[in-house]
Symmetry: C2
């Protein structure tokens, strides 16, 4: 990692859930400045303290409101349940202008969470792009990662397929993926995000049918150059 990356501030919006806290942990561990955001700043502060206790005081992780986190970041990551997706994005929209938003949301529709059901925009990430407009680059990543393994140092046996609204934004997002210790792949334009979001439903179904708890995917037959 170079110094440019070390200086990056990452907002993890809705970062008090398991997925967000796990990602925040891994980026703090990698030397990024992490701002955990939440609708309630107190919850975000508690999550930040939990990570500091795990990693020691040397790491840079703070809790604050989603709005403050978005404001104080170079790049923002959204880790909320789909039901809070639109409202959260609308609340931070102005603070994201000129930045990249990495959407981790999977549009699961209970109770049929093992059936692929996409929103009218095509996918959650495409919906985010519609909400945020042309001033924000939107990428999507981490949708298939079981949150159980992120908060800690165990190896996660699942690749991350990264889609996004520009090649440069995807390249920046892949850097963030690799900083968590996972393998990231450029999976093409944001239209392709429906496949990766939908894959989560298939993996949930496989867990149910085959008695596993953390089914994932790996890309075979290709290598990073």
């Amino acid at each position: 990692m170079n110094n440019t990356n070390l200086l990056l501030s990452i907002a993890v919006l809705g970062g008090t859930g398991k997925e967000g806290k796990g990602l925040a942990y891994r980026w703090a561990r990698a030397g990024y400045h992490v701002r955990i955001g939440s609708r309630t700043a107190e919850k975000a502060i508690a999550a930040a303290n939990e990570i500091k206790e795990m990693l020691g005081d040397g790491v840079s992780v703070e809790g604050m409101s989603n709005l403050e986190a978005a404001h104080n970041s170079d790049i923002a990551v959204l880790t909320v349940p789909y039901s809070a997706h639109r409202d959260t994005l609308e609340s931070v929209k102005d603070e994201l202008k000129g930045k990249i938003l990495v959407d981790v949301t999977v549009p699961l529709v209970p109770p049929k969470v093992a059936t692929v059901q996409m929103p009218a925009a095509g996918s959650a990430a495409q919906e985010a792009k519609q909400i945020l407009g042309d001033d924000v680059q939107v990428c999507a990543a981490f949708q298939n990662i079981g949150h159980d393994h992120l908060l800690g140092d165990s190896e996660v046996e699942c690749d991350v397929l990264v889609t996004g609204s520009s090649k440069d934004a995807r390249a920046e997002t892949i850097k963030l993926v690799e900083a968590t210790g996972l393998r990231g792949w450029d999976a093409g334009p944001i239209e392709n995000s429906m496949v990766i979001e939908g894959l989560t439903s298939i993996l949930i179904g496989i867990n149910k049918k085959y008695g596993s708890t953390h089914a994932g995917i790996k890309i075979t037959g290709a290598q990073h150059q």
Copy 2:
């Protein structure tokens, strides 16, 4: 494999292309009765002869028209380019009643074959179900397998995600997958087929970006019981 499987007749409709011929080869090798279908019976006969030359006269593989192949089969597999998808299905519809149709079609839209673009029905397999109606069970499988490796005995490093309109039909299709030497997974209802069809576009994009020729996927973290 038990005797019931050995007696099954499989029609490979549009089976003169690389994918169809490769699948026909593997099922003939496994002891199935394979009927290769084509719009032109002569082409199908030539493809069948090619497979017999590779495997010896002991195998059961014949070439004929798509209509005859569908008629003389217990289960049918469709391996045509998307442009021939609807016409081929309509031409054999009556012969498929009471059977399973396994759709291998990926709805690629040139020139943007690395961008996911699904038909109005949701996916090629859902379109097949619409065309064939309630009398035919439709499954989808093999969409991510590079055809280069099927015609021959090399190991294919890619799993097969099987979706379909009933659990029983998916179980039958998984048997066919395993007979080719590949690992098959129950990936849920036919609505999920869009994910697997779309994954092919992502793998095409990965091949282009990472200089590979046969990117595939493997399910991790779960095991067959």
